[in-house]
Amino acid sequence: MKELIENIQTQAINDIESSSTLKELEIIKISYLGKKGKLTSILKDMRNLTTEERPLIGKFANIVRDDIEDKIKKYSEDFSKKEMLIKLEKEKIDISIPSKKQKMGKRHPLSIVLEEIEEIFFGMGFSVETGPDIEQSYYNFDALNIGKNHPSRDPRDTFYIDSETVLRSQTSPVQIRVMENQSPPLKIISPGKVFRADSADATHSPIFHQIEGLVIDKGISMADLKGTLETFIKTLFGEDTKTRFRPHHFPFTEPSAEIDISCFACNGSGCSLCKNEGYIEILGAGMVHNKVLSRCNINPDIYSGFAFGMGLERIVMKKFKINDIRIFFENDSRFINNF
């Protein structure tokens, strides 16, 4: 009897080992372990055994049964893995086919850099103030200590709506409005569009963007102006950027300065970008003129402050090596998608 079982075991193992599909394994399982299977049938003859033999054979038969089941299980796991792989292989895709990405929009390069500049000033405690594009000439000129005969008032330079109303030629009127409506300490920047009657060419545009800043408090000094702008410049253009403060003249600041930075294309050695000067003029600044403070009812003997302004297009052109200002306002989506 034991021999018979052993034979069945050998036969079954052989069958399993020579099988190649899950289906074959299933048939093998039924033919040995099913209700009418070979092992099941042989066990039916157990009743012919002696009471001594019966438990021994029974135990042996169970071991054989477990062995066969284990073997089938192991093989069926292997087979299903293989069959799954075969099935998946048929689903192979060409991963180089273009993606189904949702095309993202792009910010205009002027906005990208403006936002970067705003973030730098937020970090230094400046808030952002805005004002109207169409401005009273008082705010655009008089309040800024720009004399009645100053050339910037000339209709060949500034756009007028009527004798008292202009398209602002700078964003400084925002500073006046803030000084009138808020009391010091003040720390603001004012970005926005400005308008000047310049014919458009590669470096001029009748409309461009300025970012101006203002700090007013007790004890603000020219050294504070230098420190603030140096920090800003190093953050925007890199830690290695050198700055140069040059005396200049603006009606609304005194002392006034123009600020040059070392050329970021040649690092100061001279190239076509900086016209061999090694420096690029980037900002105008100065201590707020005492007459401007007085007009806004801020006592210049108690408070002092500084102001600065820069042209956004100029910075963006230098930063991205754009050589014609007009391209900013053409709005060809290929240009905007560049950034």
């Binding site: 929009g105 792009k106 004890g219 000094s221 020219m222």
Partner: protein, 787 residues
């Protein structure tokens, strides 16, 4: 301002290289624009001696010269000039040389004969006959100057000046002069200055034969004159011509040159009249009469009016004051006696006159900037000194002076503490005093008196500026303001940032457009159909008609942007811009909009509607209504809508009308939409609290409905919302069908309606009841179940 450094060196020794000098001047406030080294304009040109002249074998009009140019071998040059002779010294442009105008000269071959360079005329050396009277116009310059063979021509013709061009800021018109810049140089370099010699006029007592009168209310606050007789008109000395040429002024004759020379030196414009041409010996400074005419020195006739200051005799205008003299009294070779004028005219009058007649002269440039009267007298004294030194005339009257100027002497206390706290510096009092004294300020008992030519100095802030710039801005320390402020974007700014992000996430590219438009744009975009002309903001001095207004609708620039992208063959465009519209009622109003424009596959009306809905959803606005705009011809009349929140219109969306498309050569469907961001911001209900989400399973029903084909599906949606009530989770319209299967004039619309209980699992009968109510309500607007 072009400054001859040779001239400058007459008054101050700079003691450093020109480059170093320029850098220092720039850093103390006199910005150097360009540096021109004269000798660089003529390179490799030397003095040569003609040894032999022989005929050219192939050309009768040419000769071959053998020259000694100081090198080991003689050279040979072919020339067509006829004034050359053996033994003559001539300027020789050698192989690889540069002559005036930047022209390069190389060895060559002239009709078969080798030529090692070129012989130069005076013009080819950048000079004129007036500076070299010995030269001839058509011919080689025969050198008569002291020189040796092989000398660099620059040293021979004294072409060795360096000219620095300064940018002079409008507050520093005193620096529009050699003396002004010399004073700046003196303070910058800490070097002493010596002023030019002048003639004391104290001993001249005779009254001038020419009487001068300033008519009442004429804006001339000072008029000095002196009479000089027995003038001998001739060319100026060479040094004076060189200085004038270097400064950009052509020499004319000694008297005119002296007035120009002294003007450049002191910044005080001067004028010389031929005294014998002054009728009745009387000068009047007055305003011109209407349509009064003058034939000016440039041979052009100008018609003047009551706003122009003029100098006249009893018959006619002799000069347009401060701008240009007239021909009738000009200095000619016959002039015998002259009157020199040194005056101060009102800056705004001079500017207006100069602009009106379109004449800007060295004189008007200075008067326009409001010069001081500090040098009015010194300039005449300097002219007299030069005339005296050159022995070209006899001073024969006292200095006549009409002075109507109000004297205003400014004194400012020296406040060292203020200066240092304002600048953030620690500069010693002695150093401050030294800086100011070098700038010619007087300091006495802690009181500062600015020099008379510094009319820009008014108060302690001006003093601080003077100290700062000479001390050096770059020597001021860098500190951080102690002011500490909390800074973040304001609510509206945050809102705008979010709107940008939604547009970007929808795939839109940001544009930045000019808000300028013209009348034609209003017509071609048909924006004139919905905006009255009176509400458009117009520029009174536009650069052109096409940029004469500020756009009343952001649709206009957006349509132009779409047109440009289409013209440039971009297959699709999806653009947005956050910008302003400008309109005027009683006041001018600027409103912020987001404008979206598109063309290309799928980028249709509904794509833009989707972006608008996303923005409304971001603002948590659910209750809005759609309506058809009544009068905007810009849009397709059957493919456009307006979105209202209550009674506020927040958005307009539509396909662009085919007529407008055609006007812009857009042969593709385009869609456009805009939202008024200020209105939207005011209605913005962004969620602050969260609504709990239900834990219970959902149920759904699909319904196919039949309705009139003109029915707007929003009506069905509204009924679904009101009928299903608060168990409604979502409605999806998944099919609209019109065709064979459906009765004509009807359409089939299919919805998936999802429902979920907030606090319980919905039973079948809950759902059925809700759907029954819905169907009953739909029947009232003639919408029936299809199956």
């Amino acid at each position: 301002m072009k400054l001859s450094t040779n001239w400058l060196k007459e008054y101050i020794s700079i003691g450093c290289s020109i480059k170093e000098f320029s850098d220092k001047m720039t850093m103390s406030g006199s910005k150097v624009e360009t540096i021109l080294n004269q000798s660089e304009t003529l390179q490799n040109i030397v003095v040569g001696k003609i040894i032999k002249i022989s005929k050219h074998e192939n050309a009768d009009s040419l000769v071959v010269c053998i020259l000694d140019v100081g090198s080991s071998e003689n050279i040979q040059i072919v020339t067509g000039a006829t004034n050359v002779f053996e033994g003559a010294l001539v300027p020789v442009a050698l192989h690889k040389s540069i002559i005036s105008g930047g022209k390069k000269i190389k060895r060559g071959n002239l009709r078969g004969v080798k030529s090692d360079g070129m012989l130069c005329s005076i013009e080819e050396l950048g000079c004129t006959l007036s500076t070299f009277p010995s030269a001839i116009e058509d011919g080689i310059f025969i050198i008569e100057e002291e020189c040796n063979i092989g000398d660099d021509i620059n040293s021979v013709i004294k072409n060795n000046d360096t000219i620095i061009e300064f940018e002079i800021t409008p507050n520093r018109i005193d620096c529009f002069s050699v003396i002004g810049l010399a004073i700046e140089a003196s303070a910058t370099l800490e070097k002493p200055i010596s002023f030019p010699p002048i003639l004391s006029l104290d001993n001249y007592k005779n009254p001038s034969p020419i009487s001068v009168n300033i008519e009442k209310n004429t804006p001339c606050k000072k008029y000095m004159s002196i009479y000089i007789k027995d003038i001998s008109i001739k060319p100026s000395p060479r040094w004076m011509m060189d200085y004038l040429s270097a400064s950009g002024i052509s020499p004319i004759n000694n008297i005119v040159d002296i007035t120009n020379f002294v003007m450049l030196e002191y910044g005080q414009p001067l004028h010389a009249f031929d005294a014998d041409k002054i009728v009745d010996n009387s000068l009047s400074i007055r305003m011109a009469k209407k349509d009064e005419k003058i034939l000016a020195l440039n041979s052009k006739e100008y018609t003047l009016n009551e706003k122009d200051i003029i100098i006249s005799d009893s018959e006619k205008i002799l000069a347009i004051a401060g701008v240009m003299g007239g021909i009738s009294s000009s200095i000619t070779s016959e002039t015998k006696n002259i009157l020199i004028e040194s005056a101060i005219f009102d800056s705004s009058n001079i500017r207006i006159t100069s602009q009106k007649i379109g004449v800007r002269t060295e004189s008007s440039l200075r008067f326009e900037k409001d010069i001081s009267s500090a040098y009015t007298k010194k300039a005449i004294q300097r002219v007299c000194k030069l005339i005296d030194d050159l022995k070209i005339g006899t001073i024969s009257s006292k200095l006549e002076n009409i002075d109507l100027e109000k004297k205003n002497i400014i004194q400012i206390p020296l406040d060292v503490f203020f200066i240092n706290s304002f600048l953030g510096t620690d500069i010693k009092k002695e150093e401050i005093i030294k800086i100011l004294e070098n700038l010619q300020f007087k300091i006495d008992e802690n009181m500062i008196t600015p020099p008379p030519f510094r009319i820009d100095i008014e108060d302690k802030f001006d003093i601080a500026e003077e100290v700062a710039r000479i001390f050096g801005y770059n020597n001021i320390p860098s500190t951080t303001p102690k002011t500490s402020q909390k800074a973040e974007r304001k609510p509206f700014q945050k809102f705008i940032s979010s709107i940008h992000n939604i547009a970007l996430a929808s795939g839109c590219c940001e544009t930045i457009s000019f808000p300028f438009i013209g009348k034609k744009d209003l017509e071609t975009t048909k924006i004139n159909s919905c905006i009255q002309d009176s509400s458009i903001v117009k520029i009174s001095n536009p650069m052109g008609e096409e940029t004469s207004m500020l756009t009343p609708s952001t649709f206009i620039p957006m349509i132009k942007n779409l047109a440009l992208n289409f013209k440039n063959q971009n297959k699709q465009a999806l653009l947005y811009e956050i910008s302003k519209e400008y309109t005027k009622n009683k006041e001018i109003i600027e409103t912020y909009n987001i404008t979206i424009g598109s063309y290309g596959p799928d980028k249709d009306f509904f794509y833009i509607k989707g972006i608008v809905e996303n923005i409304l959803e971001f603002c948590n606005i659910k209750d809005y209504s759609l309506s058809t705009p009544s009068s905007i011809e810009t849009l397709h009349p059957y493919r456009c809508c307006e979105i209202y929140i209550g009674s506020d219109k927040v958005a307009t969306i539509g396909e662009i009308s085919p007529i407008v498309l055609e006007n812009y050569n857009l042969s593709t469907r385009c869609s456009i939409g805009k939202i008024d961001l200020q209105v939207l911001f005011s209605l913005n209900k962004q969620k602050q609290i969260y609504t709990p989400i239900s834990k219970f399973p959902s149920s759904y029903r699909d319904l196919s409905l039949i309705c009139d084909s003109h029915l707007q599906v929003i009506e069905i949606k509204n009924i679904i919302q009101s009928s299903i009530g608060d168990i409604l989770e979502s409605i999806e319209l998944f099919d609209i069908y019109q065709g064979d299967q459906i009765e004509i004039g009807k359409k089939s619309v299919s919805y998936n309606i999802q429902m979920r209980g907030k606090d319980k699992t919905l039973e079948d009968h809950d759902v059925d009841n809700a759907i029954d109510t819905l169907l009953k309500n739909l029947k009232e607007i003639d919408v029936k179940l299809r199956y």
